[in-house]
Amino acid sequence: MPTETWLIFILIFMILGSITALELKDILSSIISIGIVGLGVSVAFLFMQAPDLAIVQFLFEIFAMIILLRAFLKKDYHQESTSRLNWLLSGVTIIVLIAIFLFSISVFNALPPFGQPLLTTAEHYIAHGAAETGAANLVASVILDYRAYDTLGEITVLFTAILGSLTILRIQSQRKKEGSESS
């Protein structure tokens, strides 16, 4: 079977998993069904011959599952509220989605066929990457040599995120200390 068929199969699997996660009443089963989406993405990366991305996606999925389980399992977040279907709102949503789909048919025709490289820079990287950087792994040569500036930006994002969350933690512990002193 060609890769496209497998990808469509994985996409249907992921959509079914997310619908199951929405509809399940039990929060533990719901979190496990969310994991299907991440698993599908990493298997899709494997089919498209991107093992680097597949490894990172799979590991981050495990990490996110552990955090979700620890954060939500003990709390009473799963309060059932009887949600009535708003016919007007859902009708408008479906009509808008169909309109966007109809308008974008011409865009689908303009897309290049599956697996064809779009950029000439990418062709240059594939042809000369190993010789210019000396790295056998082409992905490493792109993210750490040709596009190392992007990686610096990603690291800055992580750095700022950790700094912000540690600041919030410090503020919270100070407030707790003040509260215990005054009481």
Binding site: G134, A136, A140, S141, I143, I162, L166
Partner: protein, 149 residues
């Protein structure tokens, strides 16, 4: 949250045995980032999951006993600084910011590709420690109670 003394003795012992293998695998993935799939991000997440397994098995008090959180935060912050220093050395020695100024060596060797392994190691330290610090912050924050008060 209730008293977190960790899990049973079986889980603790097996965690103690397996932990070093997890760290070794993560370090392998980071060091071979320029030869095989993986690299700093993937290996960093593996090491962070190793730290996370300490936390899950031994509880929060075990982490506070075993690891110096302040030192980990300093190490994590200094890896960003070292990344910038490598970039500025690229200006001085290679002619452009983050230029690959070390000798490339021969293809498929462990010591090759110039600055790429150095940057991979720095990214690995950064990702591993920052993800672990996120988990520590989340464990200390008591998510549900903050919203109600």
């Amino acid at each position: 949250m209730n008293e977190q003394q960790g899990m049973t003795l079986i889980v603790k012992t097996i965690t103690r045995i397996i932990l070093w293998m997890i760290f070794l695998y993560g370090i392998y993935i980071i060091l071979h980032g320029h030869l095989t799939p993986g690299g700093g991000f993937g290996g960093g997440v593996i090491i962070a999951l190793g730290f996370l397994s300490i936390m899950l098995a031994y509880g929060r008090s075990g982490v506070d006993e075993w690891l110096n959180i302040k030192f980990l935060h300093d190490l994590e912050t200094s890896s960003v600084l070292l990344f910038l220093i490598v970039g500025i050395l690229g200006i001085a020695l290679g002619g452009a910011f983050l230029a690959n100024f070390i000798n490339h060596g021969s293809l498929f060797h462990l010591l090759s590709a110039g600055t790429i392994p150095v940057l991979n190691i720095l990214i690995g330290i950064k990702v591993a420690l920052s993800l672990f610090l996120v988990v520590i912050v989340l464990a200390h924050m008591h998510i549900g109670e903050g919203g109600q008060s």
